[in-house]
């Protein structure tokens, strides 16, 4: 992916929007849509309507939180429990938005545009924007991200509906595979981005301490693991930089 690190220019912001939309079409979109097929099937198996699934993808668009919500709802959990579980599952969006923002910031866009773009922050578009936006002229970055992630968002709406429609016609094993697609896909997206030592260490530490922490505190394990492993990874690599 070294060629993507060289400077690029779409010419104008609208062209960057179209360019982002075009470049979102590919394997990541295919795999993400596969994951949302699994979500659509899960919605149906939980006894909910297709509109519930579509409304969830439209308003939330953060798959692990959507899955947690459907699961907890189907076992009859109270609203407050569901809301806090979803919030703690999606806490990653805060540091993701904080690091994306300076990467896509340009002089020409109004502030509300960034709050609108924040709604489509998700792993695929974030990872692409963090890699590609620094190579673009600053006024094209927000447009590229919006085109890329917006297209993914719309396509996952379609996938949710199709997954719902297919749920009864495919064997349970297919649904199983589609639900497993999401964690495997996330894992590989990050396995391919190991250029910076501090972030690689954060990934390794987070995945190692996450599961034991979950046994200790199912609710808070993600937030604690993120802060602890992230800070430790940062501290260990920052000290090394000073030494060398």
């Amino acid at each position: 992916m070294a060629e993507e690190l060289t400077a690029r220019d779409f010419g104008t912001a609208p062209a960057a929007l179209r360019g982002g939309a075009r470049e979102s079409i590919g394997v990541p979109m295919l795999v993400l849509c596969g994951s949302y097929l699994g979500f659509g099937a899960l919605v149906r198996e939980s006894g909910l309507a297709v509109w519930h699934g579509l409304f969830s993808t439209l308003t939330s668009w953060a798959l692990p939180g959507q899955v947690a919500l459907i699961e907890l709802y189907s076992v009859g959990a109270p609203l407050l429990v569901i809301a806090s579980a979803v919030a703690l599952t999606n806490a990653r969006l805060l540091p993701m938005a904080m690091t994306l923002m300076p990467t896509i910031r340009g002089a020409n866009a109004p502030r509300w545009a960034y709050y609108a773009a924040a709604h489509v922050i998700a792993v695929t578009g974030w990872a692409a924007a963090m890699r590609i936006c620094p190579t673009l002229p600053s006024e094209q970055r927000l447009a590229y991200f919006a085109g890329f992630s917006g297209t993914l968002w719309v396509s996952t709406m379609g996938a949710t509906a199709i997954g719902f429609a297919l749920a009864d016609t495919v064997p349970a094993y297919v649904t199983l595979g589609l639900v497993f697609l999401n964690p495997i896909y996330f894992m590989l997206v990050f396995a391919s981005d190991l250029r910076q030592r501090s972030r690689m260490l954060a990934l390794v530490l987070g995945s190692v301490i996450g599961p034991p922490l979950y046994l200790w505190s199912p609710d808070w394990s993600l937030v604690i693991a993120g802060l602890a492993a992230g800070t430790l990874a940062y501290a260990l690599t920052a000290r090394r930089e000073v030494k060398s």
């Binding site: 459907i70 919030a87 924040a118 495997i184 894992m187 954060a202 993600l222 993120g226």
Partner: protein
């Protein structure tokens, strides 16, 4: 409230609990520049949070995956990583092998 409308309330509540993080991230990002140390620390926290989430989805899954064996899920995940690196970061090959491996392993439990 009816069984039809109540889920919309639940989903909207979940959506609000999700969007709060997004908006807060934008609001707090004002004085962070990409080459600062704070940026690098926050990026590390984001990566660690994501890694912990992925590990949880594989080790302690909810939903249909909870009925599969941990050894099968770990085996499939390791297989996906191995194929991914062997094929020089081919995402499609990695996820295909990973999911197919879990389905095959789970299915094989029913015949042995």
């Amino acid at each position: 409230m009816s069984d039809y409308w109540w889920p919309f309330v639940v989903i909207l509540t979940g959506a609000a609990a999700t969007y709060v993080w997004r908006a807060l991230g934008i609001a707090l990002s004002g004085r962070v520049s990409t080459d600062s140390r704070v940026f690098e620390w926050i990026a590390c926290v984001a990566y660690a949070l994501l890694a912990a989430l992925i590990a949880r989805m594989i080790v302690f899954p909810i939903g249909p995956l909870a009925e599969t064996y941990l050894a099968d899920r770990l085996g499939a995940a390791v297989g996906a990583l191995a194929i991914f690196f062997l094929t020089r970061n081919n995402l499609l090959a990695g996820v295909s092998v990973g999911t197919a491996a879990l389905v095959a392993l789970t299915w094989s439990r029913t015949i042995f």
